[in-house]
Each structure stands twice: as structure tokens, then as C-alpha cells.
Amino acid sequence: MSETIRYGFYSGCCFQGADARFFDILKDVFAKVDVELELIEDAVCCGSGVIEERSELTSLAVNAKNMAHAEQMGLPLYTPCSTCYNVISNAQKRMKEDPAVHAQVNEILAEQGLEYKGTCKLTHTLWVFAQDVGLEKLKERVTNPLTGLRVASYYGCHTRNPADIQGYESADNPTSLEDILEVLGVQIVEYDTKDDCCGYHLAWPNNDLNMKMTSNVLEGAHTKDVDLMVTSCPLCFKSMDGTQAKALAQTGKNFQLPVLFLPELVGLACGMTSEDMMLKYHGVPVNLRL
Amino acid sequence: MLTYDILIVGSGGAGLYAALESRMEEDLQVGVLTKVYPTRSHTGAAQGGVNAALANLDPTDTWQDHWFDTVKGSDYLADQDAAEIMTREAPMVVREMEHWGCPFSRTDEGKIAQRPFGGASKPRACFSADKVGHVMLHTLYEQGIRHGVNFLNEWQVLSLMHDGQRCQGVTAINTQTGRVHTIQAKAVILATGGHGRIYWTRTSNALGNTGDGTAIAYRAGLPIKDMEFIQFHPTGLRRTGILVSEGARGEGGFLLNGQGERFMSRYAPEKMELGPRDLVSRSCETEVREGRAGPEGEVFLDLTHLGRERILERLPQIRELCIEFEGVDPIEEPIPIKPTAHYSMGGIHTDLNGQTPIEGIYAAGEAGCVSVHGANRLGGNSLLDILIFGRRAGKHALEYARNNSFTPVDTGQEEADAKMIASIMEGESGASIADIRRSMGNLMAEKVGVYRNGKDLESAVSELADLQEQFKMVRIQDKTKAFNTELVAALELKNMLDLAEVVAVGALERNESRGAHTREDHPERDDENWLAHTMATLGDDGRPKLDFSPVTITEFEPKARTY
């Protein structure tokens, strides 16, 4: 019944600075649903798509390396970061479609005794909860249903686009996030900017635009009078929470919308406290009547 | 008043190539007026190839071989001097396209790749994967942007104006605003494409391939030629008429009737599904006529026996097309198909320079008829035709416009057209556009389609006259001026009804079978009486008047056409 599910854990680089707390949070929340993470020791940064702007081959090799380690561990590769998920997915697809490139990447990896076979299975928080753990078990573990909470759900882009690389669910009409939220007991609120991009990856090349895009998404949810926004992407979380004040100030808007990273909300519903979830580190204060 | 030295109507391959002829001219104003944005023209739909004897694949290929194939393919109705020009100049225009950036597929040596095509004795169709028309059209448009070609997009031409001798210009409606304008021009080039839509849903053609330019020229008193020749393709999808390319049969697909019989064994026991297009079309049609069709008058192209892997590997695009347009996965079930009207051989009569009998009025492309396709066009020859004669028309118009002044014009036509539109817009009680159009399409497919006979054609002519009467009362619900697509459709329907009549009358008159024109009651080709072009002009009684003119034969004596 309560068998433990194990993953090769690839954290990516999103849990740095104040966000380093998420290593512990994630571990604790997953423990609630019998999930164990085993760190992929010898991993490197996925390059977040930026390395491609210098060398696609390097990017492919780096990501093949990460997958090769997971293959060696015999575990699916789990990453909490949507961009890592996207970049690794794309690498997988690229090498599958072009065997010559795949072979060349393995030639590069051979120097460190590695081979990417192409068998590595890849997953993300959304499907760990919604499919592997399953909604039924998750429901069992919910001890503190968040009834009455009005929530705007936000996937962000990188688990959805491009579609169908891993085939978990329809990219046009994904439901995993809402399915999970429903189990947690919240009320899901539709809003217009749900499919828009927060612009996180413009933070460096065009910060003003990043701020505008983040502000647009937030405003769409805010006008629907929600209590909070929940996102399954740790980078969207940075945009929406960490830079919310700046984004709204720069675009002449004046409100505060608490934003939670999905595992936090799952933790709260499973009986963990605001302290456990270290909510005080949020940029936008989270005062939930729980 | 709007004035251009040269106004090109239509932005398909023919129109754009003509426009680019004047790209370096500073002393002339050239405009391109088009019903849709240029890159949306139907030239983009051509998938297979454009013919030119480059000899990149078969070093023995020559333009003379191409010339002969064209004449033979035309069932000897092509004018051989015109076909000579086209095939001789072909390598040059294809190279020019290439120099402008057209991304043709490549041979191992990095040259333009070529493939074999039906009716061609050597592999000479230059291609770009399955999108040759698309890349040609975009290349022409891109060069048009580069050279600052002046576009009037989403304008629909209504009438052609001349003083009996020389061109005056056109009237046109700006769809976005609904206003009618007079546009004065020394020269007008009609490059408005074909009229496959007279078969309405039974065609591979775009929704707007309604023969506007041809009908307008006809109403302006110009002769239109060989209109009875319409090429049918055997495998159009049941619902939309979209083509399932020959590749599916080449790969081993079966043609089945509703009873599941592989019916080609009745008609071509040797070649079976791989017989020539016209024979296969006729066979499908016979199955339907004799009551062996599927539930909705279709027959089936069956690939299921090829197996999932082979289909995924060899025919992925065809599979995608069936899923997207017909909702049928050919791995799982047979594809429902019907023969579909594909190409209009006939069109506005022109000389070798694309000029009509009125000075300054030109036609090119599928709208025109020089004629190079005669009674049957070869695959890959019409993309070539639009380049060659688009270019020649452009060149000649340039000279003409430079050496002539504007012919005076008043706003009489504009007023008449505005009045005509107002009266269409008043229609409240009659049949809807959709009803008349559907009746026209069904009637044409049944009686002026793959098979024809005197009796059916006679009744077609009289039924078409009824439909024209009905059209006078047509019901229009949308009374808004701006972007009134119902009005656009009404104007198109008017054009189609006129052309459908000419097609039917021509088919009735031509008592022989030649190329794409098959008379059950006159099954043989008759060179003695019918080696002639049909010229239709609008008679005083408002009905088409037919004359016949000789075919130019320079090199190849007519012979039986066997493959």
C-alpha cells in the first residue's frame, strides 16, 4: 500500500540563496507521501537553454551527462525546476530524432566513462503528485484541507511547451495542477492570464519586460479576487513572489498577491505548519487563515 | 482616382513574377491588387514540383524532350510555339527563382533536386520537399518586399474597363472598408488563378479560386478559351476535396469500393491503382454511378494492409493530412475519397506575350490560356507556366506602359458597380448563397464532371440558367459595409455561375473525347473536326457564343496518346 517511490533527484540551480530552504521543504513534503529523493551526485547545471546560445552541442552533452547518471542509478530523473525539465526534455527529443548527434554526444561522454542510452525517464513535481503518488494517496494524506481558499493556479510555460515530449498530459488542457489543488480542498479560480508567460528568463537580458510580463500575469489573477496564486515552477515563483513588489511598482500597480510554490501548499494541506514551510522568507507576506 | 501605370491583379506566382519584372523601373508605378494577402494565394498549395530540363538528375534530358512531353500530354491541343517558349525558357526562370533564394531541395552535388512526375519521360520536376509552390510564392513575395512592390491587399476586382481598343483600368472594392474605387491603369495584368471552385466542394482548389478575372474579362467582351477542359484528380478527401497525393498509391494503397472490392481490376487489371490520373478518376466515378459506393457516395483508398510501421515511415504526411482534415487515421481504417476538380486548362485567351485582343490588357497564369496545356496539363507544368508567362506579360506590359499614355476613363463603371452591389445587398427573400453554390457544385460534378454526355450537358446548361435567375434574387443577411464576407462570396458566385455556363456549353459543343474532356457519347478523339481551340465570348443575348480557332502545330504531328 504505502510503498516508497524513489527518484534520482536533480535540483538544478534554482534553490540558491534564500531558496536553499526548498531542499528541506521538498524532502519533508515528499516524505508525507512516501517519496524519497536520491541526489544525483555528479550533476551539472542544465544551462537553462542559455548555453545553446553559444553551443547546442555543449548543452546536449551536459544534459546527456545528467541523464546518464540517472540511468546508472536506475531511477527516473526528477527535477523540481520546470526549465530544467524543459531543457532536458528537449535534449532527449533532439537526440532521439538525430542518431548522429546522439552518437556524437556519447563520444563526448565516453571520456568520463559515461553513456546516455536514451532510456532515462524524466518527471516533474506535477506528475509525481498527480500520477506516481496518485490523487487517491495524496487525498489520504491531506489532514488539513484548505477549504474555502480561492486559488489561482499557474503552471508557467516550461512543463507545457512544447507539448507532448514526455506525454504526461495534454499541453492544451493540462489538469494535473488543478487535480492536485482540488485534492487539497481549495477553490480554483479561472483567470485570463493563466497561460501567459512571467518572463523570468528575461530577468537579465530585458528586466523591464520581465517586470511587465510578471505584472500582467499577477494582475489577471488579482482581478479575480483570489487569496493566493500557486505555481508548480520554482522560477515563476521567483518572478511572482521575489520580484512582485518591483514588478508592480514599475507598472504602476498597487496590490499584494501571496504566491506559493506547489510543494508548500501540499505541505500545509498535509498538516505541516507555516514555520515548517518557512513562509516568512517569502517576498510577499503570506497570512493564511488556515 | 487611383492610378498605376501597370496594375497587376492577383498575387499568386504569375502576378508576383510579373510585378518583379518591373522591380528596377523608377519611371513607372506598378501596383499589385489582390483578394487575399499575397502569400495566401493558391500557388502556395502546389506540392509536387516545377518542370525544367536542368538535367541535374538525368543528364540526357533536354528542353526538346520536355516540349514533346508537354504537347503529347496536352492531347495535341497545346499550341506548339507556346509550349516551345515555355520549355526552352524553363531552366532560366527556375534558376532565377533559385538566385532569389528559393530553397529547392538539393542533389548530392548541391544542385537543384529533381524528381520523376506523371507524363514526363525524364525526371525533371524541381522540388522542395512537398512544398514547392509555397516556397516559390514566399520567395517572390520576399523579393517583392525587398524591391518595394506596392500591394493592395484584400481588394477584389469587380470590372475591367477598356474603350474597345485599349485598356482603361479596373474597378475594385476594398473589402476592409466596403468602398468601390476606380483604378486607372495603362496596362492591367489579370493573374487571378483558376476556377476549380465551380465544382464547389468537389475541388482541390482554394475557396477563392472562383475564376474572378476570367469571368470579368468575359463580361468585358474578351474571348475565353478552351473552358471545357478541367482536370480531375482521382483522390480528393470526401469532405473537403483536399488532395491525397499519388504517393499513397505508389506505396501500395488499394482503391476499394463500398463493398470492399479492389475495383481497379475491372478497369486496369495490369497497372491497377497506378493507372493514369484520368483513367483512375473515371473508374472511381463509374463505381459510384453503378451504385457500388460507400454510404456517402465515396470510394476508399485503403492503406491499412501496409501496416502501422510502413505508413509511419513512408507516408507520415499523408497520414497527418487524413487525421487533420478527415478525422480518419489510415492506419486504422480506409480513407474515404472522391475525384476532385484540380486544374483549369482554359482561361482568358492571350498571345505569346500574354496580351489579350485589347491592347494593354494581359492575362497570365491559371487565369490565362496561351495555350500550353491544351486538353490536359502535365503535373509540374503549371508552376512553370505562371513563371514564364507571368514574366513575359510583365515585360511586355512594361514596354507598353512606357510607350503609351493613359486612356481616359470616367466613373461610369464605378457607379454601375456600386449600384450592382447595392442591389445584391438588398436581396432579402431569395435563396441563400450557400444553397445556390451547393446546387451549382453538385450539378457540375454530376453532369459536367469526369464523365459527360449530351443529354446531361443539355440539362446542366438549362439548370445553370435557372441558378443564374435565382442569383438575381439572392438573399444577403449581412448589411455591414466593412469586411462583408457574404458580399465577397456573392460576387464570387456571380463569376462562377458565368464560367460554369461557359464550361458546360463548351463541353456540350465539343463532340469528342480529348484529354480531360470525356464524352460517353463521343468516346474518341476527333482530330478531323476538333483539333481546335474553343473561343467563348459573351453574346448579345447574355449567353456564351462559341467560335473555334486552329491549333498551332510546328513540330509534332498529332498521334494517339498512349503511355
Partner: protein, 336 residues
């Protein structure tokens, strides 16, 4: 084994909600509902045409080729830009588990009427991108007696983009284009790359500058354009390649190129990006303010800023990957 063929054709009575708007008559857009019996095989375009033919002939939309090649008919169905003519309705009803769909005009372009948008602004942006080939005389002969030679491999660098039908779906889906009216958008940058990657072209420099000026670095790489493109032309990938090309061509003075350099270099050195340093690397001295603010924030929460760059373990091996890639590139053997 001859069997009569009986195709399975389903039919559902569906509610089609269509956004309507005629500027001269309405203050704002509204929805009309139409009941349509949706059959197996029916496309969105067929449903629109059926409604126009039998229920409301003033319904306004564009369509021409009805075979996925002209790009006229793009609309949003349940929010997603699609080509009406190549999108089956039945699977959408099944995917959304509802008997109702909404059809709206594309976003990011002004509506002319109902489902028809004004694409002129996009065409203008495209035109400014020099979307054409300028003859490179080293490749293209002066005379029409000869072809230019271009290898299959050279051709394949850009061939995938020539499928673009200028339908505007990607532009509609692009949040960067919504937020920044000056951003050129995915299809235009895709086209820019198409020509700059063509060995027969000689205009790379000017075009590159045009691309940089019109937002080469304003793409968020959200990859929605890839998802919605009906022709699979992958604009976001072209944008990455164009960025690479611009840096290779020596346009180094953009925040984006500095980021690319930092990421690439850092991953080689540390196995991870040295995020705390990014503000100064990318923005120069004024970046120090951001660094100090970040450190203050950490201090406020009692977190010690760390000096360790890499939280992952593989840094020792990345340099090897880089070296090997360099070696392959030097030999001209890079297969990507």
C-alpha cells in the same frame, strides 16, 4: 476476404461560442452561441462555414486554401491559436471533456471584425527585418546559365523555417509581444534567421542589427511559439540560433550576449552559474546595487550569503565536455 466498408462516424450536438465584434456597430466584443452537430471529421473551419451557411451569414472569418498552407484561418480555440482548417473539433471536445468550445480571434492584433484581425502591424515588423535574400556573389552566379551550389547540409540549416505560412499563431501566443508592442515577435525573428543562415545571402550584418534592435533579446524562451506553430517551424529555436550567430558575428554589447557568455563560462568553470555575480557581469557596475540588495535581504532573514557557487556535484567533469566540444568544432565535426 471482401468486406463491406462501414465507417464509424460519430456525432455530438455541441455548443460553439464565438466571439463577435463589428467596430462600427458594437462597443465591445461579446459571445454568440451556436448549436452545431459535430461529426467525426469536422474541422473548426467546417463548423464555422456551416454556421455561416445555415445560421448566421454575417459571421466573419478568414479562410482560403482550407488545407493548412495559406495561413489565413488562424483563430483561438479554447484559448489556443490553431488553424481552423486543420483542427478537428471532435478531439477537442473530448480533450476538454465538454460539449462546448470557444472560438476567438488571435491575440496581440487589432480585431477588424469577429474573428478577423489586422495583420498589417506584424507584416510591417516583418518588412523591417529584411526578410529576403540579398545575393552573395560568391555563391550566386551573375548569369542565369548557372545554378548556385548549396549543399544539402547548408540547406538543412534553415529549411525547417521555410515552412512558415505567416499565420500569426505564434505571435498571438507570445507574451513578450503582448507586453512589448515593439517586440518583433517569433515569426519575424524566425524569418530573419532563415535568411541569415542561408549561405547564398550577403546581408547578415544589417539583418542581425535589425534583429537586435527589434528584440532579439526580448524573447523569454517560453517556447509557446513552438507549441502552437501548426507547421512546426520552432521559432524559439531559431531565436536561440540567431542569438548565437549575433554573438559569433561580434555583437557582444548586449545584456543578452553577456548573459550567454557568463552562463557558458560559469558552467564550464563551476558546473553551475555563479548567480550572485550575474548582476555585475550582465549590467556592469550598476549591478552592484542589486548584489548588495540581495545580500541585505539574506541578512535580514539571517541567512549567510554563501561563497560556494556550485550546489551540484559535477563541476570537475564539465571542463572535459567543453574541451571535447571545442576539439570537435575545431575539426569542423560538430553534428548539431
Amino acid at each position: 476476404m471482401i468486406e463491406k466498408i462501414t465507417p464509424v462516424r460519430k456525432s455530438i450536438l455541441a455548443n460553439i461560442r464565438i466571439q463577435r465584434f463589428t467596430p462600427s456597430e458594437h462597443k465591445s466584443a461579446y459571445f454568440d452561441n451556436f448549436k452545431v452537430s459535430v461529426e467525426t471529421g469536422m474541422t473548426v473551419l467546417e463548423a464555422l462555414r456551416l454556421i455561416k451557411n445555415t445560421q448566421d451569414s454575417s459571421l466573419t472569418f478568414r479562410a482560403f486554401c482550407r488545407s493548412k498552407i495559406c495561413g489565413s484561418c488562424a483563430v483561438r480555440v479554447n484559448g489556443k491559436p490553431v488553424l481552423a482548417c486543420s483542427t478537428q473539433l471532435m478531439p477537442i471536445l473530448e480533450d476538454f471533456k465538454k460539449d462546448s468550445v470557444s472560438i476567438q480571434p488571435l491575440k496581440n492584433m487589432p480585431v477588424l471584425r469577429d474573428l478577423v484581425v489586422d495583420i498589417e502591424p506584424v507584416i510591417e515588423k516583418l518588412s523591417k527585418m529584411h526578410p529576403y535574400l540579398m545575393e552573395n556573389r560568391e555563391r550566386i552566379p551573375e548569369t542565369l546559365e548557372e545554378e548556385s551550389i548549396m549543399s544539402k547540409q547548408e540547406h538543412s540549416r534553415f529549411d525547417y523555417i521555410t515552412d512558415c505560412i505567416l499565420c500569426g499563431s505564434c505571435y498571438s501566443a507570445c507574451s513578450a509581444a503582448s507586453a512589448d508592442p515593439n517586440y518583433a515577435g517569433p515569426l519575424t525573428l524566425g524569418k530573419a534567421y532563415r535568411f541569415s543562415a542561408d549561405v547564398r545571402d550577403s546581408f547578415q550584418g544589417e539583418r542581425m542589427q535589425a534583429a537586435v534592435d527589434q528584440g532579439l533579446w526580448s524573447c523569454a524562451q517560453c517556447r509557446k511559439c513552438i507549441n502552437v506553430c501548426p507547421k512546426d517551424t520552432r521559432p524559439a529555436v531559431s531565436i536561440q540560433r540567431m542569438r548565437k550567430m549575433s554573438i559569433d558575428d561580434g555583437i557582444h554589447d548586449t545584456a543578452g550576449s553577456r548573459r550567454a557568455k557568463a552562463y557558458t563560462g560559469d558552467v564550464a568553470k563551476y558546473g553551475q552559474v555563479n548567480k550572485p555575480m550575474l548582476p555585475v557581469i550582465v549590467n556592469g557596475p550598476k549591478g552592484w546595487a542589486a548584489i548588495e540588495a540581495a545580500e541585505n535581504y539574506l541578512k535580514k532573514h539571517g541567512i549567510e550569503p554563501t561563497l560556494q557557487v556550485c550546489t551540484l556535484g559535477g563541476q570537475s567533469s564539465t571542463q572535459k565536455i567543453y574541451d571535447k566540444v571545442k576539439e570537435l568544432e575545431a575539426k569542423g565535426e560538430n553534428k548539431t
